[in-house]
Amino acid sequence: MPTPTESHSPAPAEAGTPVIEFTDVEKRFGDNVVLKDLNFSVARGERVTLIGPSGSGKTTILRLVMTLEELTGGYIHIDGEPLTHEQRGGKRVPVSKKQQKKLRTRIGMVFQQFNLFPNMTVLENIIEAPVHVLGQSKQEAVQKAKSLLEQVGLPDKADAHPTSLSGGQQQRVAIARALAMDPEILLLDEVTSALDPEVVGDVLNILREVADTTNVTMLIVTHEMGFARDVSHKVMMFDGGRVVEEGHPETIFTAPEHERTQKFLGAVLGH
């Protein structure tokens, strides 16, 4: 599986079934429509960054993929299989919980607020799901966890308590925890927004390395435009629940076509 890909490597060919596919997705909270008629797909191994002003629905997209929010219209397919609803006999019917759970194990997520479990040590946080959800042996999971901790630069923190770690350290553990599940899809939800500026770089470097050394599909929401530019194959600009513009990061960041994108980038990059 680990076919090393360079940053800025050409986007994986759009052939075959997309790993994530949104079809006519609509999400509303009560009367408030957050996403409307959203169609896009992500190929295997592709890394897509969603940018746009807050409230534009980027985070909602990740939360829909992780089934943290209820989909109110349309379909999401993971590897060709329906995640929440499917079309059967011309009707939109919910899929079985079992099916949803099965698909969900292939998706990992790193949160803005880390969300480590305070009642467990760092190591326990990482091995909990591999052992009890995937059914790995404890020995195997511990071994993997230790190498992941090494990878995120915290080999000596296995027995530490999450509350005794700094924010940056907690987020690195959270990344290790998500990777321990061997996800095919990794969702990164503003993973550096809650961190002190001086540790943001460490966390992003770890994620760059993950991108370089694995073939995991990534859906990223971030305000770190440099990171987005380095890592992603495609950037999608959102506004008001719609895709305003999408394309190769170089194009979007250097020569955005749409006025909204120009304005937004101007504001965040400080031009």
Partner: protein
């Protein structure tokens, strides 16, 4: 008041009656412990179900909780004592016949059900105060409902619900005094009340009786506070029990950012 006047005489009576008083005390302790255990089980089971996202589980649990909380403890006790056995009287050969006439057991049940329903509300409420991010992380890790409850949510809710459970257990101890009106249950209050008949210095005993209840309540409170300290320590907040109990407590190492 008059009960402060006759000190020398008190001792004799206290000695004569101490065996029965101790027996009564033992019954009260048993009522409190068994009632408390039953209440805890009822609280956790009903509380978990009442916090379920599924309406067909949640709604019946809420109704049962409101029912058991809403009728008074005394009414519940009398209902168990007088109405429940009638079912057995009318139909021969039902199992557990011996149990429905066991007034001690009925007392434990009334205490357990009534205070358990209050506890269920505490359990449910404490689970809603576990941060949303924790629930979301369990979803992101594909944990099943029993798994996330047992390993993530409940251990965190536990620290939050303990203060309420402490209060309820003290309430249960105090409520257990009403069991003295039941035939065949000679708890501490019953024995105290017996003392009234042969002696005119009953007040001193009643006062001592109140003190004994007070001490029992303090023991419960201290025990539960120790549990709470342990639970908080496990969540990485506050010192461990050992550190609290050691004569020179070490300064707690401050937790890192967020």
């Amino acid at each position: 008041m008059e009960f402060f006047e006759d000190w020398p005489g008190y001792l004799d009576v206290a000695i004569n009656w101490s065996d029965r008083l101790l027996e009564g005390l033992w019954t009260t302790i048993q009522l409190t412990i068994f009632g408390g255990l039953l209440a805890f089980v009822v609280a956790v089971v009903l509380g978990l179900i009442a916090g379920s996202p599924r309406a067909w589980l949640r709604v019946p649990a809420r109704i049962i909780i409101e029912l058991f909380r809403g009728v008074s403890l005394v009414v519940l006790l009398f209902w168990l004592m007088f109405v429940l056995p009638q079912i057995w009287m009318r139909a021969d050969g039902l199992p557990f016949e011996g149990l429905v006439y066991n007034t001690f057991l009925l007392g434990v049940m009334a205490l357990g059900i009534n205070y358990g329903a209050y506890g269920a509300e505490a359990v449910r409420a404490s689970m809603t105060t576990v941060p949303k991010g924790q629930w979301e992380a369990t979803t992101a890790l594909s944990m099943s409902w029993p798994h996330k409850m047992r390993r993530v949510i409940f251990p965190q809710a536990w620290a939050l619900m303990l203060p309420s459970l402490t209060n309820l257990w003290v309430h249960l101890l105090k409520g257990s005094a009403i069991a003295y009106i039941m035939p065949f249950v000679s708890d501490f209050t019953a024995e105290l009340n017996q003392l009234r008949r042969p002696t005119d210095i009953w007040f001193s005993h009643a006062f001592i009786g109140l003190v004994v209840y007070f001490i029992l309540a303090l023991i419960i409170t201290l025990f539960m506070q120790a549990l709470e300290a342990r639970a908080k320590n496990k969540l990485g907040r506050g010192p461990s029990l050992l550190e609290i109990l050691s004569p020179a407590p070490k300064p707690v190492t401050a937790g890192g950012a967020r």
